[in-house]
Point group: C2
């Protein structure tokens, strides 16, 4: 199963993606991919060392396979279509058993170096050609906003989760994502509500999502432990008693019940 986590900046995409990844890695082999050039998925899992991005992969594969220069990345990847064939140096293990592997798409190394369109093309090709095994889950932490939907980066995912919070700004983004995701043929678009401080706030967001015809997978309360773990640079999963973690564990259950891995 391939899941993309989307939404307005700052709604909690990375917190949800990283915590879901840890929880699901108890039962599945999980590949968590940071598709945001302003990457912080690894940091959100407590890993603060650099990871070689997928955007450097073409050179690595060429080195190994001697693939013709000019052959498209998609073609090269079709020769090695399972994610476990990705060069080990492109991922970092979260746990000693390597059940949760972290990959990053690529970033802007130098001001003026250009956009991340080439890196997005490469990630799209990987996701399109990838054969996911029954016991494997890919979780994509997308860039903030909507540009990735113009680029179709995540078009090959099975489920797109929109994270929304109480407020019209994140709901306007949610509405745009729902529309653009439908444009590129993504069938299952659902929502998670984050930073809920009161039943009134939750009701406000649920009703707006209903108007967009978006089902809600679950809600996460506003929880200072999320701020505290971010200030410490530690995973929220280190605080399994926190209200936010418990809610995300419930959301993980809901995902597995609604969309059994096939």
């Amino acid at each position: 199963m391939k899941i993309a986590i989307t939404g307005k900046g700052g709604v909690g995409k990375t917190t949800l993606a990283s915590t879901l990844a840890v929880i699901l890695s108890k039962k599945y082999k999980v590949y968590a991919i940071d598709a945001d050039p302003d990457m912080n998925l690894a940091g959100s899992l407590g890993i603060h060392k650099p990871i070689t991005p997928i955007s450097k992969m073409k050179d690595l594969i060429k080195e190994r396979t001697g693939a013709e220069p000019g052959s498209s990345f998609g073609e090269v990847f079709k020769m090695n279509p399972t994610i476990s064939d990705l060069p080990e140096s492109l991922s970092t293990d979260y746990d000693p058993e390597g059940r949760l592997k972290i990959l990053v798409m690529g970033t802007v190394d130098k001001g003026g170096d250009g956009c991340v369109c080439p890196a997005s093309v490469m990630l799209k090709a990987i996701l399109r050609n990838l054969i996911i095994k029954k016991d494997e889950i890919v979780i994509l932490d997308m860039e903030a906003g909507i540009e990735h939907l113009g680029r179709r980066t995540a078009e090959a995912v099975d489920v797109m989760i929109i994270v929304a919070e109480p407020g019209l700004k994140s709901l306007e983004t949610a509405s745009r994502i729902k529309k653009l995701a439908t444009d590129i043929g993504i069938q299952k678009v659902v929502a998670v509500i984050n930073k809920v401080a009161s039943p009134l706030e939750e009701k406000f967001v649920v009703e707006k999502l209903k108007e967009m015809d978006v089902d809600v997978l679950g809600s996460i309360p506003r929880d200072d432990m999320v701020v505290i773990s971010d200030m410490e640079g530690l995973p929220l999963a280190n605080y399994p008693d926190s209200a936010a973690f418990e809610s995300i564990a419930q959301i993980a259950e809901n995902i597995l019940n609604h969309y059994p891995s096939n």
Copy 2:
């Protein structure tokens, strides 16, 4: 003076940009430009009707001037280099006197339509060729993260403000922005701290920013009125007694004192 507001998604860029724009428009003619394809600057000012984006401007100018197809946008704009020459239909007035005008860069209209690189090129050309009068201020609300710094969209600004909040994620982004902004020659990069819940949190962020050699223009407390005004779809400026508004008014003073409009 041209000011760009940057930072990780969700730190409060749009709230700061829109509120600064309202405050500064009491003394200056202000052009507030939404440079985020996931646009919400107008919404944050309580304006929920569509605005024709700058990315549609080329056609408009061609219609009016009969400029040769193929002539670059930069060339076309050099013929009309003051912002007041922009077609009226490309901006919306916030106030009856038109002291605060809102413009938008452009968005992704349809899933799969591509990136916003062309719209960014157009905005960059406008900002580079623009002659700002003594009594005019341009405030750019940038897209979340760092890709705009790869594209050099805001290279022509006088001051870049990074918004940071308590937490390592927004500070990692701040550090990347400082580095990339320096790469493209932006001299003045300063910070505003948002969502401060305690002196300890503020101290944490101030120290991290000091390590990056980034001066702090001011701090904004965590304030429920920001959430409430977002849920209502109303400007924070409608609540001038709120702690967040008062802090931003102080930041506006600091900007004018440090960087007098020339």
